[in-house]
Symmetry: D2
Subunit: 152 residues, 4 copies
């Protein structure tokens, strides 16, 4: 059941959120026990924010930080409703949303690919707060963020 629920998060993110396809993300990790999540994506021309420098657009950074934290919120949602049907769970998932987010841009977004990790710092029945960090493959931290999420 846990696996089926995590699969549902995965298919929801990758198939039903068209902008996630534009970003080209893959979901590397969804940790049921801790709520941790990891997303990765390759650099591509569409994601560039400065042609001369060839760095990631700040909006891409913000988008990926938000959606990775959102995965942690969805895992929390799944845990909270773990006895319900997948169909009911899907309704709760689509009712979950970001309340607010802070992004700190630390270094230029240079790299061939990027990894974003999220961990939960507050897990409630309605509110989840996550910390996120986006790095390149050389493990240089490009940006960090904190998001507050409302779960269905």
């Amino acid at each position: 059941m846990k696996q089926a629920a995590l699969e549902q998060i995965r298919s929801y993110y990758l198939e039903f959120l068209p902008f996630n396809k534009v970003l080209g993300i893959a979901i590397d990790l969804l940790d049921y026990d801790t709520g941790g999540a990891q997303v990765s994506f390759p650099m591509k021309p569409d994601l560039i924010g400065n042609s001369a420098a060839g760095i990631l657009h700040g909006g891409v950074t913000a988008a990926v930080i938000d959606l990775t934290g959102g995965l942690s919120a969805l895992i929390s949602c799944v845990k909270y409703h773990e006895k319900e049907s997948l169909e009911q769970l899907y309704k709760w998932m689509t009712a979950s949303a970001t309340i607010d987010m802070r992004v700190d841009y630390l270094r230029p977004g240079k790299g061939d690919a990027f990894v974003c990790k999220s961990r939960i710092i507050r897990a409630g029945s309605r509110i989840v707060v996550s910390k996120m960090a986006l790095s390149n493959l050389q493990d240089v931290c490009i940006a960090t963020g904190t998001g507050t999420y409302l779960i269905g």
Copy 2:
């Protein structure tokens, strides 16, 4: 000179930042005197974050809020270096960047098109802080934000 500098901001944003084309933004207003800026963009399938609800992806909202505040920062940069050549100005512009940003997601991003406005609340020689608001054409406020920018 003011007009030429504002044109440079416009062409920089629309031609040299590929992700801005993905978002499909137009720049409606760049106010030299106040630093105010306005951006608009039509809804399109790629920008959707939830296929069932047909609403804007939170990452698009964050991206547009960041880049609209960034326009206010660039206007400040232009004003601060107004006696320099356009070539020199371009160097300063590309050295400008977001330091941090907060986004508050207030209502679902429903609409045929969206408008984002930015106004400056702190104008310094190095630091600009702007407040942004994203609305649909019915003037329903979808999200607000605050950004801190470093200007070259």
Copy 3:
């Protein structure tokens, strides 16, 4: 009943929260209909953050911005539970809390007295988001903030 509930917020803030006495705040306004609130306090030596400059400590600014937004959250709490007894209402009030807050420090905190205003930008059954602004008596804006509150 509205008046009694607003009085309860007032007495809760001024009598049961000792640190509010340290700050020396008065509650000028609690608007039941909009959730708007206003707090004021005189400058005094204890609140100074820089003896040479004689300006408000940034922590005082943050504290007053948080507590003023908290008043808007409590008004929302009162409205949501308006049919319940004052005793029950008190329990809900004490269960309300700040989830997160951003403060932007715009200008040095100079002045003989200060006024902080809060207005609600998101009013939900569980989550309230408020925007706050702290000014001196010459209407110079010293800091703004945004707070997300959980209401009981």
Copy 4:
């Protein structure tokens, strides 16, 4: 010279910022190399935000998180101006200030004493960004924060 400069930060904070005395803080650590800082303070009646629950006022939490991150900013300021006189350094220090801050309130502020730690995540010649965490003596994390500081 390093030691003298760090002593100057310490005496500036503890003797020239009256509100820091109201809070009752001690400075446990100022790490010249990393910019890390640690502050601690005992609970006392004046700092309570809820008489019934006996927990820390959210404004105290915000104030201590801001000032601890500010210590990291001052260490950066000292490092940047390390060849200047202590007198000149003092001028730079008093010109340093918080630009913006986010606080996440994670758990009720219960405890006999509290410790707040700060570490630098962005160290620039003008901008410092720090992450802070406030815990009680049982190492329960009560709140975290991120601050952006302008250094003189």
